[in-house]
């Protein structure tokens, strides 16, 4: 059994596999996890408010095993922001209610979980990226890891280590949002046929140390409105951890129309709102990061089983965007996948038909129970905030039935509009004071991102001519704005004009470019294993 991706989904699957069949008779199956980050958990970035239900299903005694899940949500507020003011929602809509949930750091949780998984006998190979799927005919038979020790020009360095083929009866793809392996599998078998296109958002987050007494640990605040215009999906969050640690983040739908929109500056603007600025004043930004999340919901989930492979977690799109929660669903899907895979192994039949049991478990279990009733929410938000709110309220009352089900939607990048004659509606740049607000490069420094500089770019742009010609005119090179790590720059070309410069080693692996590029010519592929951000406490 091979699992690609050591996030909550992959590790839940691994743990389930390793522990379920202990005892008389069955030996546990041999399980390995590939994770591209240098250490388990280092690429984890989340809010995060954890719904502990799945963790309890996976490991009922998580408390006594010392899971870093310690701070129950104590208060739960939601505000609608205007530029200067905040309007509290009189009641917190049920899906945003967090009673019984915990404020956590996902990368700490995952690091701890990785320890439990290893103790259960699973090999976790951190620092190894799955570069491509191995097939026999149309059957997935494993994964090839990336080559290491290739220089910028593509030549082998003295230290060259070729990638390794890892073969497995069942390969579980837990490669997270817009995972490169999942993407190729979905494309190859058109697994999204008949489904709604997935829509995404990008979350940008900073971890702050604020003076004592700002927010009690366990306080949770969500905001809507400012700085986004009405028709745009997104909002802010503030989650208070103990000892003055505060998670501040902003989620922006990757289906915005204005090519001049820059999620990073929207986040900076959000921090300047009196509500947020007041909470952060006198504090210190200590970490930064960004990551996309799938928001399409139930109708955008592709078929998740093929011969020899299953897709779990964010890679599949199991995320409740109404609650901004995916960790527990990722774990639930990992558990379901592990059970289906074990069943298939025991039957000596890992064909798609047999593995379809995974889909059945998803249908009959907690995932559908949670996602199906809210299945149209994001599509409704695509029509703007007010209809969205109205709709989400209604759908809660009606149990989710709406006039059309499923509602039509387009991939987010298709909604981006051409630069019109006048300047983009995006407001002017946010002033950067390096206390409250930061430029992207300074922020990236706080993500701990590092790659070996002497390697080929892991951002493959199929046709850079488009960048300097069509895209420049039609969209004004939105990659220079939507990337939260300043990877893309248009610089002066030798003979006049501009050319695209890719600072690949800045990349925080958020996947926004792969998602939002209007021509869909950017392919994010994993860089040399071990590269990327080093999140801690995020």
């Amino acid at each position: 059994m091979l699992i690609v991706g050591g996030g909550p989904a992959g590790l839940a699957a691994a743990y389930r596999l390793a522990t379920r069949h202990r005892g008389p008779g069955g030996d546990p199956p041999v399980v390995a996890v590939l994770e591209k980050s240098r250490e388990a958990g280092a690429h984890m970035l989340s809010g995060a408010v954890l719904d502990p239900s799945a963790l309890t299903d996976l490991m009922p005694d998580w408390r006594s095993r010392g899971a870093p899940v310690e701070v129950p949500v104590t208060e739960d507020r939601i505000y609608f922001l205007t530029e200067r003011r905040r309007i509290p929602f009189p009641v917190t809509p049920p899906p945003l209610r967090n009673h019984g949930n915990y404020v956590i750091s996902l990368n700490r949780l995952v690091r701890w979980l990785a320890g439990q998984v290893e103790a259960a006998g699973v090999d976790i190979f951190a620092g190894f990226a799955g570069a491509e799927l191995l097939y026999e005919g149309d059957r997935v038979v494993g994964v090839r890891t990336g080559d290491r020790g290739i220089d910028r020009e593509g030549n082998r360095k003295a230290t060259f280590e070729p990638g390794v083929d890892i073969r497995a009866q069942v390969t579980v793809l837990a490669d997270g949002v817009r995972g490169n392996l999942t993407k190729s599998l979905v494309e190859r078998f058109r697994l999204d046929g008949g489904r709604l296109p997935q829509v995404y958002a990008v979350g940008i987050k900073e971890l702050w140390d604020v003076p004592a007494g700002r927010l009690p640990a366990g306080a949770v605040i969500h905001t809507l409105g400012y700085p986004l215009p009405h028709e745009q999906f997104g909002g802010g969050f503030l989650y208070a951890l103990p000892d003055g640690a505060l998670s501040v983040g902003f989620v922006a739908g990757l289906d915005y129309r204005d090519p001049g929109f820059d999620p990073h500056s929207a986040f900076q603007r959000f921090k300047r709102h009196p509500l947020v600025a007041g909470l952060l004043a006198g504090g210190e930004m200590v970490r930064y990061g960004a990551k996309a999340l799938p928001e399409g919901g139930w109708h955008a989930i592709p078929r998740c089983h093929v011969d020899g492979a299953l897709i779990v977690g964010d890679a599949a799109g199991f995320l409740n965007s109404m609650r901004l929660k995916g960790i527990h669903l990722a774990m639930q899907s990992g558990i379901a996948a592990a059970d289906a895979a074990l069943d298939a192994l025991e039957a000596w039949d890992t064909s798609a038909e047999r593995l379809a049991r995974y889909a059945a478990l998803v249908e009959s279990g907690p995932i559908r129970r949670e996602l199906h009733p809210v299945r149209n929410v994001h599509q409704a938000f695509a029509g703007g905030l007010l209809p969205g709110l109205l709709y989400s309220g209604l759908s809660l009352v009606t149990g989710g039935w709406w006039i059309r089900d499923p509602m039509p939607a387009h991939p987010g990048h298709q909604r981006m509009q051409h630069v019109r004659g006048e300047r983009s509606a995006a407001p002017d740049a946010v002033p950067v004071d390096r206390r409250l607000t930061f430029d992207k490069l300074t922020n990236v420094h706080y993500s701990g991102t590092r790659h070996d500089e002497d390697q080929p770019s892991h951002l493959l742009v199929q046709d850079t001519d488009v960048c300097r010609t069509r895209c420049r005119e039609e969209y004004g090179n939105p990659c220079t704005r939507f990337c939260p790590a300043a990877v893309y720059e248009m610089v002066d070309a030798r003979g006049g004009g501009k050319r695209l410069q890719i600072n690949a080693s800045n990349c925080v692996h958020c996947k926004t470019c792969d998602i939002m590029d209007p021509y869909q010519i950017i392919d994010w592929v994993p860089p040399e294993g071990g590269g990327g951000p080093r999140y801690e406490g995020m």
Partner: protein
């Protein structure tokens, strides 16, 4: 300060010489010793060192101690440790100070160990406070400065980073007494057998060793303008380095890159031309002793670390600098 009250000099400076020539950084350590107060003695060990001793006698110090022994002819750690351990045992100073050179790193830690202590290495400053002597030393690659207080009976061995004190601040007082200290080193106890030093045709530049660096950033616009920068570097006797975009474009090799994914340097002089001063660049050079920035944007963050700044077009300023240096 824990200094023994004896009639001997409480502060001993260990001079560095090679082939009889005094390493001028010794003067920096003399300046440090003088700044700490108390009587200072300077010791020089080797063979053929009369000239070096005479040079040192010009310093405003109590004594110059000379350790001549054939076993010290060429430097070996074993030889140096044996000779200096015996010196310190005879002289009983409270403090033993060294310039933090490659040679010091090679033997002083073991010498301090022989003397029952631990060398406090690479200090950038020293203060005498009510509670006693406090040394300042960089930590975490210069991100922080630690205040360190020596503990235990001493003698306390301390080495000072080159450039931490100014050589010309060392007071010169005329003629210090020169005294030969008898040491005899048993040559057979020296285990290292050195060969002659040699200079190697440099394959890769080692910017960390450069005294002066002229670094160029994207303000240079194109590779064709690099000769301008090289000319300034020649005029200053400096190495050329760059910010990442320059190396990324292949205009200069990657081993010339300064910053978090390149080299960390701390030369005497760092001239930043058309470099904005992104944090990833700053971490690689902000420890430089003197930083000059030329940038046309007065708000560029590079000016936050610069000692001298010219707000202007590098294409005008650099030729003017070359001309001014030529005069």
């Amino acid at each position: 300060m824990p200094m023994p009250s004896s009639d001997r000099a409480p502060v001993l400076v260990i001079a560095e010489q090679r082939a009889g020539n005094l390493n001028p950084v010794t003067w920096e350590t003399v300046a440090a010793a003088q700044a700490l107060g108390g009587a200072v003695a300077v010791a020089v060990a080797g063979t053929g060192i009369a000239g070096a001793a005479a040079e040192l006698a010009a310093a405003d110090v109590a004594e110059v101690l000379v350790l001549e022994d054939p076993a010290l002819e060429s430097y070996t750690p074993d030889g140096h440790i044996a000779a200096l351990a015996s010196l310190v045992e005879q002289e009983r100073p409270g403090l033993v100070l060294f310039p933090h050179t490659y040679q010091t790193r090679d033997y002083a830690p073991a010498l301090a160990n022989r003397l029952g202590g631990v060398l406090i290495p690479d200090c950038v400053g020293a203060e005498v406070r009510d509670a006693g002597l406090v040394l300042l030393r960089p930590m975490f690659q210069g991100k922080f400065v630690a205040e360190v207080a020596p503990a235990g009976p001493g003698p306390h061995c301390i080495s000072f980073q080159i450039g931490a004190w100014r050589a010309d601040a060392a007071a010169r007082g005329g003629a210090a007494a020169t005294r030969t200290v008898p040491v005899s080193v048993d040559g057979s106890t020296i285990r290292q057998r050195p060969e002659a030093p040699f200079q190697e045709a440099k394959q890769a530049v080692d910017l960390t060793q450069a005294e002066r660096i002229v670094a160029v950033g994207r303000g240079i616009k194109g590779q064709e303008h690099l000769p301008l920068v090289q000319e300034l570097a020649r005029a200053l006797g400096a190495e050329v380095a760059a910010s990442r975009p320059i190396c990324d474009s292949g205009w200069l090799p990657m081993d010339r890159q300064i910053g978090s994914s390149g080299q960390t340097v701390s030369p005497k002089l760092y001239v930043a031309l058309g470099i904005s001063g992104a944090i990833q660049h700053l971490v690689g050079m902000k420890g430089s002793r003197t930083i000059v920035a030329v940038n046309k944007d007065a708000d560029a963050p590079i000016f936050e670390v610069a000692d001298y700044g010219i707000v202007g077009d590098l294409f005008e300023v650099v030729p003017a600098l070359v001309a001014a240096l030529g005069e």
